[in-house]
Subunit: 576 residues, 2 copies
């Protein structure tokens, strides 16, 4: 029997793959049960109240708290156990971002506690316990992520896997809960506007609007109940960010990490002035537009139409600029062809998948608008602006995703310089060391092998690869030839470095500009500026209920896309 | 400039990763637009009719036909371009399965053509063109998959990527369309039953029930319109299978494949008699139960309750048996610990993801039932059977997924025997060749590295790995020691081979039994035996509309899960 020999891993012989499946299935079931409770609450299921849902969430948070405390204690006492770190995971600016959102979430929690005290006569105790637990959970979780987001866990893997996946799905459920509360609020506001505009043909029922009793301290009540909804967008972002960071931690469990020497790339304002200026103009104008929009919409029919026209024209202008910037960046990339780094990197893989996946949310909405415009029988003038807007939303995200994903996969320039130096050294020694072809292969595009294999490290170890096929020797010779050929052109590299620098400056400016634009475009949907509701066209074509369902399902992803792409663009800016 | 050096791949310097993102984003948009058209048709959107949807689907199919023809011609004329084959993709039994489903799909198409001729007065021409195009599409696609499912495309990658992803999403849209038609039919039947049982409190509107004109040939009309719905389940499976095979083809584009020598593992009936007998008993009893259920349900309240009780009791019994079989199989795996093969294999990765992903569909339904039972105010006796049934559905899929995923990841036994022989040879020569530790590492669990790196091949090439860390030398010595230690136990291996053989026989029987059980459990939901509708409990708790939406969204995945796990279990049976 091979039992002993077959289990070289720490923590028993249970296969890694099984532990992964075991824990992910547990997480999915946890999430589905919570999702159905949330759904049941949303559709006013018989016998299921908000307090049931909150109790479930409180339980999950308490379990996560216990697990995090256990993990923190253990990692304090046994420091040697967690030696490996994934340098790509949990970047500092990501941690700063999550801390900012967490602080606002804590304010939200204090508002909720205040709200509960005001209306304690008619609210169930869970509505008071929930924000308290949530605040403690938030504080500990942010501390946990600051200390351990980079960990590559190698011990007691099964228990750790369950804890981390539990945390991932707890945060996802809290995100779902936040999204639903926010959607209900937006829908209520939309219905109130419809009442103002005098639409009588839609059955309008306000949902979970206000408690059934009077406020005890009249002055603060409206502050709390109004303020909560301005803070929710940050709470929502906090949970989805935490959940992605925890997911990366989960994916890293038991992984063998190569000890890359990471280039510290701090954010610098220097050299991105143009991009920043244009970006800030977009940001301020967007905020102005949102304020005007929220004041004007629903007041009267003419004011609503004006607000919509204004919103669309502004968005079309911004999106067109962003498309142009993205195309320019992609063209620059085509001019200087650099190999892509396809080494294993869970954080980056997740980033790319989330960009495409969450963009699908807003694409769905855009296709809905396009379909509605094509099929609608009556076209008020302002609705025509919806068509270029929707088309541009699709194209802009298409281009931006290409740009971001190529950017985060490009190898850092520093390495490229090193290899040039090495090549020159190699040639000057006149030797045809057998390790040269490996290096060439690694850094001239061959390393971007699709099987995800990590090439041997540039520094620290020497690696030798031999091809399984028969053509190995021939290939090697041809590579030697091209080596000599290229080394001649390498010397002209230093003269062209100013061109490279100017290209790099353009790219940095574009990334900065797109970063601020994405932040700007996050604001309107997050704070209730939703032309998909107010436009009316889609509601007429698809029907009120079906379209509301589509918007409420797709919008959270669309909002998250903007925040996530902003985060990715920040990284691109630092890396370029 | 590095342009020339950075582009060693065939077909231009455009990065692989970008082509992937470019084409996948195109596919997603194609799919979303189609999805919204389907949705618009389903909710009776103003100005969108079935013929719009069908025209869109016909266009997509024609584009795919053109692309497939181009690809077939090109691969005929330039045979040398496609040399690499992924031996894991497009297994023969998978091709046979898809051919079977395609033949039944062709019968469905001919029924649809007949139906169109019968009602040609009041049906739009697209309803006639659609089945004709679909038949041609089916024939060519099956031929395409037979010839090219294993291809690893290395030339003109971008155009190929677009073609393949177009085909993937066209099939997914056709799947969606089939699922929707089927769901509408099931819902209509359910509503008719409710009318029979005298439920007046639910607003019942039959949807797309029958054409507005009379049939021209009265005899065949009912055959066509009834027969269509018995053939739909096969059509649905055909499209989802085709789309997964095409997806694997897409993932393989541009991949570097190691030339594994694949073990041909034909299916043998020998040695799995016990599993087959039990499986066939389950299969026949399930068919009997389904027939009785469909006859009894909706006739009267008592008959419905009897049918439900019978269904639940049978399902509980079968699921309990399947759980036991799965647990036994997992325990056997724990006894003989073999290393898992984590090499890159898109077909296997997709299999595992689909198993967990589609199981989520039925888990959602089960959690809904559990929640409904807990929260319902009145509990008729037969509803209590729903609780163990739902719990068992969750547990059974949990265990079965673990079993299948571990099985498809286990390395084939043959390799294990080889390494034993090698070890003995090495020891008998008394030498401590430096390659021994590599082999040991590779085949004793270390090879299941998590970074997805493919270990050097056992046959054909010699590989040398050196650890980056400092402990290399020490490790090697300890491995030499364990080598000597193990070699002693190796000789006892041959005496214990009968134990291994009996274990293997048990595993094969379990796989065969589970295969037939999964096929059996595919039948009830696919052919309209849906206790989630007829049970009534969930509809009362969640409300009629919300629960119908949940069932219609989750059920297609639940049905696909059964067929997919049956296919995987067939593979497990062949491999064990």
């Amino acid at each position: 029997m091979e039992k002993a020999a077959g289990s070289p891993s720490v923590g028993g012989s249970y296969p890694q793959k099984n532990a992964e499946i075991l824990s992910s299935q547990y997480g999915i079931n946890l999430f589905l049960a919570g999702l159905l409770l949330t759904f049941a609450w949303a559709v006013h299921a018989v016998g299921i109240s908000k307090s049931h849902l909150l109790s479930y969430l409180i339980t999950l948070m308490l379990i996560q708290l216990l697990w995090m405390l256990w993990y923190l204690c253990r990692s304090c006492t046994q420091r040697r156990l967690i030696r490996d770190k994934d340098t790509h995971a949990g970047a500092r600016w990501l941690k700063c971002g999550i801390t900012l959102f967490a602080v606002i979430t804590l304010i939200l929690d204090s508002f909720k506690i205040g709200y509960y005290i005001d209306f304690s006569n008619c609210l169930s105790p869970t509505e008071g316990i929930f924000p308290v637990t949530h605040a403690v959970h938030t504080i500990l979780q942010v501390y946990f992520l600051w200390c351990h987001a980079k960990d590559v866990i190698q011990s007691f893997k099964t228990l750790e896997r369950f804890g981390v996946i539990h945390s991932v799905f707890t945060n996802l459920l809290l995100w779902t809960n936040g999204v639903l509360t926010e959607s209900k609020h937006q829908l209520n506001e939309h219905k109130e506007r419809l009442i103002t505009l005098g639409f009588g043909n839609i059955t309008i029922v306000l949902d979970d609007h206000a408690p059934q009793c009077n406020c005890t301290t009249t002055t603060l009540c409206s502050v709390f109940s109004q303020g909560i909804y301005y803070l929710y967008p940050f709470n929502i972002e906090y949970h989805i960010l935490a959940s992605t960071m925890l997911y990366v931690l989960w994916k890293n469990i038991g992984r063998k990490v190569e000890h890359h020497q990471q280039h510290k790339t701090p954010f610098k304002f220097h050299g991105i002035t143009v991009g920043m200026i244009f970006g800030l103009i977009v940001l301020t104008s967007t905020i102005a537009i949102v304020v005007v929009y929220l004041i004007q919409i629903g007041r009267s029919k003419i004011k609503s139409e004006l607000a919509l026209t204004m919103f669309y024209l502004h968005a079309i202008f911004v999106l067109a600029l962003m498309c142009t910037a993205g195309i320019v960046a992609l063209l620059i990339y085509r001019l200087e062809d650099r190999s892509l780094d396809n080494s294993k990197n869970p954080a980056r893989k997740l980033d790319a998948e989330l960009l495409v996946g969450t963009a699908a949310g807003s694409w769905l909405l855009s296709w809905g608008s396009i379909l509605a415009i094509i099929c609608a029988q009556a076209h008020p003038k302002y609705t025509w602006y919806n068509l270029p807007y929707s088309v541009l939303v699709i194209i802009e995200k298409y281009i931006q995703n290409l740009f971001i994903i190529e950017s985060i996969h490009r190898e850092q320039e520093k390495v490229n310089d090193d290899i040039k130096t090495l090549r020159i050294v190699t040639i000057s020694r006149g030797s045809t060391l057998s390790l040269t072809p490996s290096y060439k292969e690694i850094y001239n595009g061959r390393a971007t092998r699709d099987n995800g294999e990590v090439p041997c490290l540039f520094k620290g170890s020497i690696c030798r690869r031999e091809n399984g096929g028969g053509g190995g020797a021939k290939e090697e010779t041809s590579q030697e030839n091209s080596l000599v050929m290229h080394s001649a052109s390498d010397f002209s590299f230093y003269s062209s470095s100013s061109v490279t620098n100017s290209k790099r400056r353009i790219l940095k400016n574009i990334a900065a500009f797109l970063f601020l634009c994405n932040l700007s475009l996050w604001i309107p949907p997050a704070f209730g500026c939703r032309p998909e509701y107010d436009n009316g066209l889609e509601e007429i074509v698809f029907g009120f209920e079906p379209w509301i369902i589509v918007v409420n399902l797709a919008m959270p992803f669309s909002i998250f896309y903007r925040m996530h792409s902003a985060a990715s663009l920040f990284e691109v800016n630092c890396k370029t």
